[in-house]
């Protein structure tokens, strides 16, 4: 395996001082919502995938990577898409590895394989993607997160796999 600390890591130590660099961006929440328990085995469940990787179908409206306050929209990514049909619009993480193999950040082919092998019951029609750079945590929670939750529920998913980029 290639050493991840090679010269391709362009921003070493990025997170070490995040609260100093972006005051107030690290949020502490006092209310706690426990994770939901599986109601049926994974092999019988419909799974969706939610990612902050900024992955989107080619020719869809690019995520707004330049807006100083962030982009509060999401894109549906058909769960049986091929990586060649997808692209990344995101400036806040190095994408060198993901451009070589999208699965390292957005494991769509791995999930397709797990569904084919029946380790996962089935994939929901769509996965969901947005960009992680959002300066307004309240708007993120009250609009984007709610919009995605509604879209996930509408497709009858039993399990949501969440992966930050």
């Amino acid at each position: 395996m290639e050493n991840s600390n090679n010269s391709q890591q362009q921003r070493p130590g990025l997170w070490a001082t995040v609260n100093e660099r972006y005051p107030g961006s690290m949020i502490t929440k006092n209310d706690f919502i426990p994770l939901a328990k599986l109601k049926k085995p994974l092999a019988e469940s419909r799974l969706t995938f939610i990612s902050t990787a900024g992955v989107q179908p080619k020719n869809s409206m690019p995520f707004d990577t330049v807006h100083p306050i962030g982009d509060y929209t999401f894109r549906r990514v058909p769960s049986y898409s091929k990586p060649k049909d997808l692209e990344i619009h995101q400036l806040k993480y190095p994408t060198v590895g993901a451009k070589r193999d999208l699965n390292v950040i957005f494991p769509i082919e791995r999930l397709q394989e797990l569904a084919k092998e029946k380790i996962i019951g089935e994939l929901a029609p769509n996965f969901f993607s947005f960009i992680g750079y959002n300066m307004d945590a309240q708007k993120l929670e009250e609009t984007l997160a709610e919009d995605i939750a509604e879209a996930v529920n509408a497709e009858g998913s039993d399990v949501a796999l969440l992966a930050p980029a």
Binding site: Y22, I27, P62, T65, H67, I88, L91, M135, D136
Partner: protein, 96 residues
């Protein structure tokens, strides 16, 4: 929250806090790098005009006259990243 921090700085006229944020934003957390990124965008723009090429001033003036300030501000951020990327010295490696 971070946005509250910026709004408070704006209300208090605290330009230092705001410019620090802008530099951190453009420099991905490195204030000095952000300042260099801003300079880079201006230098790239300047280089393109040195030979005084014909430009579409009608488009520029029409855009400035017809578009609201928020849209122009958004365009300003787009232009910053466009020129930095065009310079070939791109600290980001993603797509706009």
């Amino acid at each position: 929250m971070a946005l509250d921090y910026l709004k408070k700085a704006t209300a208090e006229g605290d330009a230092e806090k705001l410019i620090r944020y802008v530099r951190l934003h453009f420099g991905d957390g490195n204030e000095a790098a952000g300042r260099k990124e801003i300079d880079k965008a201006w230098i790239e723009s300047l280089k393109l005009l040195l030979d005084v090429p014909e430009t579409d001033r009608k488009f520029i003036l029409k855009t400035l006259a017809e578009k609201d300030a928020a849209t122009l501000a958004h365009l300003f951020f787009h232009l910053h990243f466009y020129f930095v990327k065009r310079s070939g010295e791109w600290i980001h490696d993603g797509e706009l």
